[in-house]
Amino acid sequence: MKDTEIKKLLFAHVFCVVSIILSTVIPSFFLENFSVLGTHLTWLCICSACVTTVNIFLYIIVKPNPSSKRSSFAHKISRFLKCCIYFFMSCIVFHGITVLYGAPLIQSVLETFLFAVLLSTFTTLNCLCMLGPNIQAWIRVFSKNGAMSIWDNSLQITTMCSIVGAWLGAFPIPLDWDRPWQNFCSEV
């Protein structure tokens, strides 16, 4: 039981990582002048879209937390809508937090918002897939003794790492090295 779970987990994560790598490599074949640093906005869009599809796809295939009870179609629709609303709200919240942390308010608002979307795909979307639109469950998972399964643990780790990574991304902003990727950092 445990082994199959771990295998599934590994599979899912490898899939995610490959999708991110592909999202940086593949578009350069289709789009003119595509590069991660040069056209970062496009890349942000593509990457979030890619990760979103992969996550949803994985969720449908793997079904980490299979719910026992059958639910009606209407119930499923309402769940889906709820998920969408939650996702959107999390984008807004991340955007707000980024601005409060010092991102410019009006200037480069698009970058900031896309960054919030990306961060949401890495964090909120995972939560939505794994736990469903259930705030109580989220609160439970993100506390010390809250993780019940290996999936919860992986969720904890990936979400935390995404947020810490975004936080670390702010560090190179003040440096005066004049490198192009610093523009990229400044919106992270």
Binding site: I97, Y101, S143, P174, D176, D178
Partner: protein
């Protein structure tokens, strides 16, 4: 452990820091006083002779000069040796110099040019033009801009009607505003850019030289220096750059005319890594090359190039061009250049004339300097004076003898040579005296100061951990005194009682005493600790966790300290600090959640299984967090700009209201400012009323009720007067001038009155005494009850007593003897809050009008932080409300730094708000003390407020013990079983603990401040060769050090205020007892 030891211990800990700081600063900061005098053409120091037009002091030899300054042209770069088997990239590249010197030995010569540390470009430019030894802090200089006020070569040229043309490094533009008749500035800031400046100069150089409308042409090339910073000297790029310079020089020589002197000089050398700034051999070894188309030298070049100190250029160039030597120059003329082309005796005489003028000028400077400052040793100055008088007398005699023709040739030559060596000796001694005093780092002192500060930090940490062991300090004092005594003896024995050394010896010895004591007490404490059951039962893991508990906030502190080691982060610190504070707050709340303290456990009763509900307190906590983040973001609206940051607009709020054009906007802003003022007063009164501190009739409360609005009114009036336009109200001008002085002074007076009232009667408690009067029922009467009057007296007394006892019985059993004291539970905080508000008014007045919004934000954020601290503590279920966690202390210190920036300050000198010195004064300061205090109060406003308010961190959790409860009474009667909220009176229940925890809080605060200081000090020490040291790190160090001193003093004041209130409350109780 009572009040006095707390203060003594804190003062001692602060003294340790200050001693370390002082020791460090004495090794790091080179100090010199700038003199305002300028040399003039008349009176001339030379004996009166007929001078040609356009010459001062001595006849000029050249009409014009070209000074080509190649930044970081080390001597090794300029030297040419054909015999080298495999020249390195920087060697043998300047062939033009070698060629000129070899083919025209009487026209050209290469010198070693010794720079004086600090070898940073700006300091070197100052040195090359003033002929003095600029240090980092030239006292008396105008901090508001970098412009040179001292007498200098350029100023002399301009005064005497010469035209100076400049091209190159734009640093000169700031140093010499409006001096150049023509100038081509190019940006120097980007060290990575090798070509912009050089190519820009080359575009204009030759055409300007040919154009001829100049007397001194300065071209400052930066490429070599930038190449050194970017690649180091040993790099092919350097070879390219030097080759370019070589071509430039050889073609420049072709453009020169006969009356023109060419000087090619490096302002400093560079180390093997291409850096400069310090005093190592490679950094100070630059090159100087002199060339002219007319013969300069009588003799051929010496084998090994002569060494010329950099200050010698100024007197030489000044006299060659026929202008007076700048007043503060301490250089010596380069005698070779004054020989002329006559016979040996004439040459020696004209050399002597130059030396004489030079020596006279140096003597005059030393006299004036000795009057202005005491840092040159008196006995050395005395010796110098004797040398000078002897040489000058000898010179006069010799001149007389020469005129009379008394001396034979060989004897005359010998005498001339002797006299010249006398003058040389005098000038070199004078320079040596100045150098030892002005231009030396003391690495040993710097390291020792650093170590002292580090040890003090460690001490604060250990002491704050130990503060709960109460008896510790009683014993501790003996060892401290021993240490103090030993240190004093050592310092005394060490010699000539240098106060810095004595202070540091005392500090170090008493520190050793403390460490020795805490080490020797260790076994006992471990024994005590093992007796205590909870610690003993803890497992290893739990103990480790207890150690890791402060790791998160201390990690944030470490990040903050680490950020000081990079100039980019120091420049961006105004954004770094809020970022760290926000992260700290997030971590704080996140950790609470992670530990499961925000949500009730799932197995709690009345909860459906599986679902968790939020804790009652968690919603306000999240709200507070959001409010804190909003505050942080809003505070960034008030930032000042540093000049390093491009595209930065300083906050519009920094400008005074009178600078606004549109009257509507001005009125709106004015109303907003007044509203924030009113909001502040209202909030404070509201707070005091809520806790019942506004009921009594003590003078302090009356002052709060009436004085606060009055102060606000005065400030509003002052703003109204200042923001009016200048030219209106022509008739009322005098009235306006009077008002400009009167209103601020009224505020100062009121604030001082308020502070005195706080000191005099800090207890704002309203007591209602309905106890029965103790004592005999009937007053005994004297003599027999004979008269009717006596009888009546007794009867009425009996009646009254019966009535009272009946009343008390009717009111109900146990409450027959109670004192209702309103506001006793918040008596400490109330005094602090009133003090803080008064200080806030005072500081607000010193800032520009719209900064009042920032101050409102400051108070709001402090309040939010306190609330956050309280709810975090209550959620964490802290059993020990006396201990202030590291989180809160570090957040408090970060907020201090944040509001330093948000009140419109930056740690650079041009950003100081000098106009604060004239609030309430009309440009007629008699002493320097008052303006210095006002400017310091303006600069360190947030340090003052947060440090004084620091004890609130300890008091606030007690205040919030009974939120919502309206009953704030203290039962005097011990029989009373009903549990009343005690609030801050809990502190009085355990006075020992109270003072110990106050000490602990103070030590923690000092520790955090000390760590920041340590980081700054280490930065300044380690990076003293860094390119940015005088622009970024040294000012940062100065501001941080001053901020530390201010914070320490204010912390001590805040804590002593709390202890004073404690005394007053005790007195109040005693006054209550006998009734």
């Amino acid at each position: 452990m009572r009040r006095c030891p707390v203060l003594l211990f804190l003062a001692w800990a602060g003294f340790l820091f200050l001693a370390g700081l002082w020791l460090f600063a004495s090794g790091f900061l080179l100090l010199r006083v700038e003199l305002p005098q300028h040399s003039a053409c008349t009176p001339s120091p030379a004996p009166a002779t007929a001078l040609a037009m356009g010459s001062c002091w001595l006849p000029r030899r050249f009409a014009r000069a070209v000074l080509v300054l190649v930044d970081a042209l080390a001597f090794e770069f300029a030297r040419f040796e054909e015999a080298r088997p495999r020249p390195r990239p920087y060697e043998n590249k300047l062939g033009a110099l070698h060629h000129l010197a070899a083919t025209q030995p009487h026209h050209a010569r290469l010198y070693r040019f010794r720079a004086d540390p600090p070898t940073t470009t700006m300091q070197r430019i100052k040195g090359l033009t003033t002929g003095s030894l600029p240090t980092f802090v030239d006292v008396g200089s105008n901090f508001a801009s970098y412009a040179i006020r001292e007498d200098n070569l350029l100023a002399q040229l301009v005064h005497n009607g010469r035209r100076v043309v400049f091209m190159g490094d734009d640093t000169w533009g700031g140093l010499f505003p409006k001096m150049f008749s023509r100038s081509y500035f190019f940006p120097s800031f980007n060290v990575k850019d090798l070509h912009t400046v050089d190519d820009g100069i080359l575009q204009h150089l030759y055409s300007t030289v040919d154009g001829g409308d100049w007397d001194l042409l300065i071209a400052h090339f930066l490429g070599v220096d930038h190449c050194g910073h970017k690649h180091g000297p040993d790099h092919p790029e350097m070879a390219k750059k030097l080759t370019q310079m070589n071509e430039m020089i050889s073609s420049l020589v072709d453009h020169l005319e006969n009356d023109t002197l060419l000087l090619v000089a490096g302002d400093h050398g560079m180390t093997d890594t291409g850096d400069h700034g310090g005093d190592s051999e490679k950094e100070v070894n630059a090159a100087l090359f002199v060339y002219s188309k007319t013969p300069l030298f009588r003799a051929g070049p010496p084998k090994e190039p002569e060494t010329v100190p950099q200050v010698n250029l100024v007197p030489t160039l000044a006299l060659l061009l026929g202008v007076p030597i700048p007043y503060s120059s301490i250089g010596e003329v380069m005698a070779d250049l004054f020989e002329g082309d006559g016979d040996a005796v004439t040459a020696a005489l004209s050399q002597l004339a130059a030396y004489h003028v030079n020596a006279k000028q140096v003597d005059r400077f030393l006299d004036s300097y000795a009057l202005a400052a005491q840092d040159l040793p008196g006995n050395r100055l005395q010796q110098l004076k004797e040398l000078f008088t002897a040489a000058a007398e000898e010179h006069a005699q010799l001149l007389a003898q020469v005129q009379e023709g008394l001396l034979a040739l060989p004897e005359l030559e010998a005498q001339l040579g002797r006299l010249r060596s006398h003058f040389q000796h005098y000038l070199r001694e004078a320079r040596a005296v100045c150098t030892t005093s002005w231009a030396r780092f003391h690495p040993f002192r710097m390291v020792a100061g650093c170590a002292l500060i580090a040890a003090s930090c460690l001490l604060c940490y250990i002491a704050s951990e130990l503060a709960s062991a109460l008896d510790f300090y009683h014993h501790c004092f003996y060892s401290l005194f021993g240490g103090l005594l030993a240190g004093a003896l050592l310092g005394w024995a060490h010699g000539d009682l240098d106060p810095i050394l004595v202070a540091s010896w005392v500090a170090a010895a008493s520190q050793l005493g403390f460490f020795w004591h805490s080490w020797s007490q260790r076994p006992r404490r471990i024994h005590l600790a093992s007796v205590r059951p909870p610690v003993a039962s803890m497992g290893l893991w739990q103990r480790l966790r207890a150690w890791l508990e402060p790791a998160l906030p201390l990690g944030i502190l470490a990040l903050r300290c680490g950020a000081m080691f990079s100039d980019s982060f120091v420049i961006a610190e105004s954004r770094v600090v809020p970022f760290l504070l926000a992260s700290l707050a997030m971590l704080w709340v996140g950790k609470l959640h992670w530990d499961g303290q925000l949500s009730t456990p799932p197995d709690a009763p009345k909860q459906p299984p599986g679902s968790l509900s939020c804790h009652k307190e968690s919603r306000p906590l999240l709200g507070l967090l959001a409010a804190l983040l909003v505050c942080l973001r809003l505070s960034s609206l008030f930032h000042q700009c540093r000049d390093e940051v491009l595209h930065c607009q300083p906050s519009p709020c920094l400008a005074p209201l009178s600078s606004l054009r549109s009257p509507q906007v001005k009125n709106l802003c004015y109303l907003l400012c007044v509203a924030s003022l009113v909001g502040l007063v209202y909030a404070v009164r509201r707070w005091l009323r809520h806790y019942g501190n506004l009921n009594s009739t003590s003078p302090l409360v009356l002052f709060v009720r009436w004085g606060f609005p009055l102060i606000a009114f005065c400030i509003a009036c002052y703003w109204a007067v200042t923001s009016g336009t200048e030219d209106t109200l022509g008739k009322l001008q005098e009235l306006v001038q009077a008002a400009l002085v009167a209103f601020p002074r009224a505020v100062y007076g009121l604030v001082a009155t308020g502070l005195l009232l706080v000191l005099w009667k800090p207890v704002t408690v309203f007591a209602q005494d309905n106890r029965a009067a103790a004592g005999p029922i009937v007053t005994p009467y004297q003599g027999a009850p004979s008269s009717q009057a006596d009888l009546l007296h007794v009867i009425s007394q009996i009646y009254r007593r019966m009535q009272e006892s009946l009343n008390s019985r009717l009111e109900g059993g146990s409450r027959w003897a109670a004192v209702a004291a309103y506001g006793l539970g918040s008596v400490y905080s109330a005094a602090l809050i009133i003090t803080l508000t008064l200080l806030g008014f005072f500081l607000l007045l010193l800032h520009s009008e719209r900064m009042s919004l920032s101050f409102l934000l400051l108070f709001l954020e402090a309040f939010i932080l306190l609330r956050l601290h309280v709810s975090a503590m209550s959620l964490a279920g802290e059993a020990e409300p006396f201990v202030v966690p590291w989180n809160a202390v570090i957040a408090w210190v970060l907020a201090t730094a944040q509001f330093f920036y948000s009140t419109g300050h930056q740690p650079i000198f041009p950003a100081i708000h000098w106009n604060a010195a004239f609030v309430g004064f009309h440009e007629d300061h008699t002493t320097h003390l008052v303006p210095a205090l006002l400017v310091a109060a303006n600069t360190f406003a947030s340090h003052i407020l947060f440090a004084v308010g620091c004890p609130l961190l300890l008091l606030w959790p007690f205040l919030c013990e009974t939120r919502g409860s309206r009953r704030k009474r203290l039962k005097k009667d011990p029989q009373d079983e009903e549990q009343e909220p005690l609030m801050e009176m809990r502190l009085r229940e355990a006075p020992e603990r109270f003072s110990a925890m106050l000490l602990q809080l103070g030590l923690k605060y000092l520790f955090v401040l000390g760590m920041q200081l340590l980081a700054c000090v280490c930065t300044a020490m380690i990076l003293r060769r860094h390119l940015m040291v005088w622009k970024v790190f040294a000012p940062k160090f100065l501001f941080e050090a001053l901020g530390f001193v201010v914070s320490f003093v204010c912390l001590l004041l805040g804590i002593s205020l709390v202890l004073h209130v404690d005394c007053a409350v005790s007195a109040w109780y005693r006054q209550l007892e006998p009734r």
